[in-house]
């Protein structure tokens, strides 16, 4: 292989290695040893808080959903098929999670509807439910995806000023990120070393060429 091609290849591998190292190290720091990613958003608008399947089922690991209301009232949190939740909420006022900001840890909310939310607690569509004073939490597995989680008031008062938090954790993510960083470091180290060695040989070659030239003259 010509020296120039070898050096170009080494440079490309070095770039790839550095990229893997930086991204991997960044993810390791962000996720931590437990491999946890947490996102939250608050809504002061009255109405239900909705986590649609596009977010809830975006990753094939269980997601822990927690809803907290500032006034300490009862919270009703439930998961059901997305079709059923759409039918239940219809035109009711709701704040729906429309995006996840990583690594900012933020959820984007989209407000829709204006009607007073119906009492959806008695419906038989809920696969999982949780109620609590001030906050409630659910661990939603992915076995029945696509599903939607709804947080609403568990009592007669309307749900306002509430926060929804989504937490995914998978230890495998941490080790995957660690592996990525390690592979990147190894690739970068070898290819940079190769580039450095090539430079030394080239410099020595220049010196040898100069000496030969002097001897000839």
């Amino acid at each position: 292989m010509p020296a120039s091609t070898r050096r170009a290849l080494a440079a490309v591998v070095a770039v790839m290695g550095i990229v893997l190292l930086v991204v991997g190290a960044w993810m390791v720091i962000l996720l931590g040893p437990s491999g946890e990613a947490q996102f939250s958003a608050s809504s002061k608008a009255p109405g239900a808080l909705v986590v649609p399947s596009e977010v809830l089922n975006a990753v094939d690991v269980p997601v822990r959903v927690t809803a907290t209301r500032a006034d300490g009232g009862a919270v009703f949190l439930a998961a059901a098929s997305s079709t059923d939740v759409r039918a239940l909420l219809a035109t009711s006022a709701a704040s729906t999670v429309s995006g996840v900001q990583f690594p900012a840890g933020r959820l984007d909310l989209h407000a829709s509807g204006a009607g007073v939310p119906a009492d959806i607690r008695t419906a038989d569509v809920w696969r999982l439910t949780a109620t609590g004073a001030g906050s409630a939490g659910l661990l939603v597995d992915q076995s029945r995806a696509p599903e939607t989680v709804v947080a609403t008031s568990g009592d007669a008062t309307a749900l306002t000023d509430a926060t929804v938090t989504l937490t995914w954790d998978d230890t495998a993510w941490f080790f995957e990120a660690l592996a990525m960083a390690t592979v990147g470091a190894v690739l970068a180290a070898f290819s940079l070393n190769d580039l450095w060695q090539g430079r030394v040989i080239a410099v020595r070659g220049d010196v040898a060429e100069t000496k030969t030239s002097e001897a000839t003259t």
């Binding site: 993810m27 399947s53 997305s82 059923d84 038989d124």
Partner: protein
């Protein structure tokens, strides 16, 4: 003007030397000013370019939506599509619904007052509610509650609906703790906001059995138009209702096997007609209650058809006659009348379930129950 002249003139104008404008010398001069060798300066330049490319790559990989490293590493995906061939309920959910509904039904039938009425409305719907209301009203003159379907502690879940459309159903079977015939129940939920409630219940007719349904996890489909069955569900029930009329109407090529329930109803009608023959004219009409028919496909391809018929017993009192109804305690309880001079009627609901074969053959009655629900007289 040649290129050479242009550079020379430009140099003169800028009061610079000609070599200053030539790139090769610029690098050499820059290297000299930085006290570096020319080759080292070139290498430094390359390192800077590579670093910039690295940073750009990192930013792209980390931030481009749906393609970035975060998506790849975390396994972020599109949400799966809804599985239309699965049940909308888990087995646990269905069992919880059964437990709640039968508890409410039991409380509704064993207590009294507004709370009992509320429990009944929680447990029953439609014709089921009409039937149980009649049963509660006539409790003093009808068989005791020991024969009730509600004394069954462990309902057996037979089938749940398939897919996420409405109406949805649950079919369950109970056997009263004190023995007796197994009872078949149909619970329905018409929309997402309305809980499942008992729509009908009927005792199994010996020696009939209910063939297995599809797995509970996949649910059982509703048969909407009778395709693939020996007879369409609506046609079956309409013909069954017609053949039970009094005076009797002949049905050619009945799509159902003769059964003990129909025989019993016809015998009762004939008896009533004979008993009042001198004082009144008696007729009996059966009609299928609209929207009460459900047909559920079984694993074998056959279907279980459930429906409700409304039977009206009419008495047209002959001129100058007075009919004493004291002996008919149910009629007196429902109407408060012990003497009828013009006309009287009794409304009874008949809850029936048939097994319909998938291709040829006749349907078989597997469960039936009747319940007086109303009466009128003048």
């Amino acid at each position: 003007m040649t290129r050479h002249d242009l550079i020379t003139k430009s140099v003169a104008m800028l009061r610079l030397r000609r070599e200053d404008l030539i790139g090769k010398d610029l690098i050499t001069k820059s290297a000299a000013r930085l006290r570096l060798r020319r080759d080292d300066l070139i290498r430094v330049g390359r390192v800077i370019v590579v670093s910039v490319v690295c940073v750009v790559c990192v930013v792209m990989i980390a931030s481009v939506p749906r393609w970035g490293a975060t998506h790849a590493l975390l396994g972020i995906r599109e949400a799966p599509k809804a599985n239309t061939t699965s049940a909308p309920l888990t087995v646990d959910q269905a069992k919880r619904i059964l437990a709640r509904t039968f508890t409410a039904a039991y409380l509704g039938e064993t207590t009294s007052g507004a709370a009992a009425q509320a429990q009944l409305r929680t447990a029953y719907t439609g014709e089921g509610l009409r039937g149980v209301s009649g049963r509660v009203k006539l409790a003093s003159v009808q068989p005791a509650l020991s024969a009730s379907l509600l004394l069954a502690p462990h309902p057996k879940l037979l089938a749940v609906s398939r897919g996420f459309g409405f109406p949805r159903f649950i079919i369950a079977q109970t056997v009263a703790s004190d023995g007796g015939l197994p009872i078949l129940h149909l619970l329905v939920s018409p929309d997402a906001a309305t809980p499942y409630r008992i729509s009908m219940s009927a005792e199994m007719v010996p020696p009939a059995t209910v063939e297995p349904f599809d797995r509970l996890s996949s649910g059982s489909p509703l048969v909407t138009n009778g395709t693939g069955l020996a007879v369409a569900p609506a046609t079956l029930l309409n013909l069954y209702a017609a053949q039970m009329a009094f005076p009797a109407k002949a049905i050619s090529k009945a799509p159902f096997v003769a059964d003990s329930f129909a025989v019993q109803v016809r015998a009762g009608a004939a008896g009533a007609a004979g008993a009042v023959a001198s004082q009144a004219t008696y007729t009996q009409v059966h009609t299928v209650v609209p929207s009460s028919v459900y047909a559920v496909r079984q694993a074998s391809g056959d279907a279980l058809v459930l429906g409700v018929l409304e039977r009206t017993d009419s008495f047209a009192v002959k001129p100058g006659e007075n009919v004493n109804t004291v002996a008919n305690k149910a009629f007196v309880l429902l109407t408060g009348k012990e003497l009828v001079t013009k006309a009287a009627s009794i409304t009874t609901l008949e809850f029936v379930a048939f097994t319909v074969p998938r291709s040829t053959g006749q349907a078989t009655l597997v469960a039936a129950r009747e319940q007086i629900v109303a009466g009128a007289g003048s």
